[in-house]
Amino acid sequence: MRTRVRAGDPSAFAELFDAYARAVYNHAFRLTADWSTAEDVMAATFMEAWRLRDKVDEEGGSLRPWLLGIATNTARNQYRSSRRYRAAAQAAAAAELSVPDHAEEVADRIDGRQRLATALTALAKLRRPEREVIALCLGEGLDYEAAAEALGIPVGTVASRLSRARRKLRKLAEASEEEQQRAIGAGQLAGDRPSAALAGNLRESLVKREGGRPGRQTRGDHAHAIRPAQEGNR
């Protein structure tokens, strides 16, 4: 495949597109917080890949990291400043949460909207290099070597960025959880649904899997106890 891509074989690019368009599209969404922009980035990524075809090494595995790397650069050009990304992410998160609950909308979908909003809000709190590493490693499941290849940075840098980004996300989760606890204490739960949901999901995403954490069970119960209330079951 690498040889064919290098040689500029159009059918190789057709195959690449079929195999990875979806992954590039989703990765681009995580970096732009907008599905329609993500589609543009995806299309631009494959044209850029065509242009850069002779930069591909003969040796190597899947070309997915290479494509995701190009997508990362392309997305970077869409949002030059973190401020603009934050604005887009917050708008998207708000849009997901502000959709009125329809009676027929199943609980699962409401949960999905909240989870999406959670992911976007979390990504918006990170610095761009951290966000890119998180999106590649957690979003697309690349290992450190592949992420390093995609971003053109040393493996050690990927590791340190990722662990820093994780710490940040955990802190955010805990902070929003505390806020949530205060909210519950003050009896503001009903009026503060999005924020409560966010804290619950974010904490669940980032903390629940940390084995052996004291009090884990208790917190988990909390999150669970809150959600039915948000869904209007009570």
Binding site: P10, N26, E39, W50, P65, L138, L142, S205, R209
Partner: protein
């Protein structure tokens, strides 16, 4: 891609999957195909642009197919090629009432055929007989002031893109007439698939850029062919040398070069016969039991499969007399073209020799000459 490397434990992976489980989705319906087609069209476009760019400088290193229905003279080949490219990428396609026209020529659906059975047995014998038949035929000598006249019927299939939608279309079967002076400096072409106006266009040299290209294997004049060696081994060596770097493989390019000479020139008798003896020396040449030329005449074919494109070029001969009738190129293996639109059984191009003669004036046909 496995995320669970030594440095990334299962817990961390789960964590990511949870955070991002709602950020994955398919492209909106139809968008995958839309973007894919657009990408393929752009790739096609840049490839063609690169090829055309190469034409202006060094010799082309790309498949010979693009040259096929071009004209014998490079300065004309360029605009003709550009026109074909433009149609292929949809840049100048005018749609009126659903039918696209180019150069006043109607287009229709893709041309298809049944693929004949190929066999490598009996190829040398067949080519021997063809060479003998070729040596028998009379080949009048073209003198100064005269013209080599070639009338053929041609049709071809191509990928047409309109509004990002690609489909196969074809140029309807039409007559192509070429007049060339023996030295190659004067000429005229009437081919509605190429010409802008029904009168045709000049092939006379020097061209609009003031160049007088030298005759070579790819744009031979009658005089050039008359001086060419008729020793099959020497001729084959010359063909390999002069077409080096062109086409998909050296062998396929040699076969195509000879095919072009058969179709687009009127080789002097000895050379005509030598061309077949030379073709017999190219590896991979096969015999196809049944093939049809553009005029609908059935015959036996000498053919070679281009492994790169999956297309087989077939030279069609009368089964009894072994006279060269015409040729065609058929997609026989896999698909080619944009999005693999050209499927097996598609006739990419087809031609039939109608008349070859020496005439006394440009735009004069043999019947007029008496």
């Amino acid at each position: 891609m496995n995320a669970n490397t030594s440095r990334q434990n299962a817990a961390a992976w789960e964590e990511g999957a949870q955070l991002f489980d709602r950020t994955t989705r398919d492209l909106p319906p139809g968008r995958h195909q839309f973007h894919k087609e657009r990408m393929m069209a752009q790739i096609h476009e840049t490839r063609q642009a690169e090829q055309t760019g190469n034409d202006r400088g060094a010799r082309r290193t790309t498949p010979a197919r693009t040259r096929r229905f071009g004209l014998p003279r490079p300065a004309i080949t360029l605009p003709a090629l550009a026109a074909t490219v433009a149609v292929a990428i949809g840049a100048v396609v005018v749609t009126s009432g659903g039918e696209a026209r180019q150069g006043g020529l109607a287009t229709g659906p893709a041309l298809t055929t049944t693929v004949g059975v190929a066999s490598s047995e009996g190829v040398p014998q067949l080519l021997d007989e063809i060479a003998l038949a070729a040596a028998d035929g009379k080949h009048p000598v073209a003198g100064p002031g005269q013209y080599v006249y070639i009338e053929s019927k041609v049709a071809e299939t191509f990928v047409r893109t309109v509004n990002d939608k690609s489909s196969l279309a074809s140029h309807a079967l039409h007559t192509r007439q070429v007049w060339k002076s023996p030295d190659g400096t004067k000429g005229w072409l009437i081919d509605p698939a190429v010409n802008d106006s029904p009168e045709g266009e000049t092939l006379s040299l020097p061209d609009e850029q003031g160049n007088t290209p030298r005759a070579d294997l790819n744009s031979p004049s009658y005089d050039y062919l008359a001086k060419l060696t008729t020793d099959p081994d020497k001729l084959l060596a010359k063909i390999y040398k002069e077409t080096e770097g062109q086409g998909n493989t050296p062998d396929q390019q040699a076969f195509t070069t000879i095919g072009d000479l058969l179709r687009q020139s009127y080789p002097p008798g000895e050379l005509y016969s030598a061309l077949f003896k030379t073709a017999a020396k190219i590896p991979g040449v096969v015999m196809v039991d049944d093939a049809v030329d553009a005029a609908g005449r059935h015959g036996v074919a000498v053919a070679r499969l281009d492994e790169t494109s999956g297309q087989r070029e077939e030279w069609i001969f009368d089964k009894k007399t072994h006279v060269f009738l015409g040729d065609r190129t058929v997609q026989v293996k896999g698909t080619s073209g944009e999005d693999g639109l050209i499927k097996p059984g598609t006739v990419v191009a087809t031609s039939a020799i109608v008349k070859r003669a020496i005439v006394d004036g440009i735009k004069e046909t043999p019947s007029q000459a008496g």
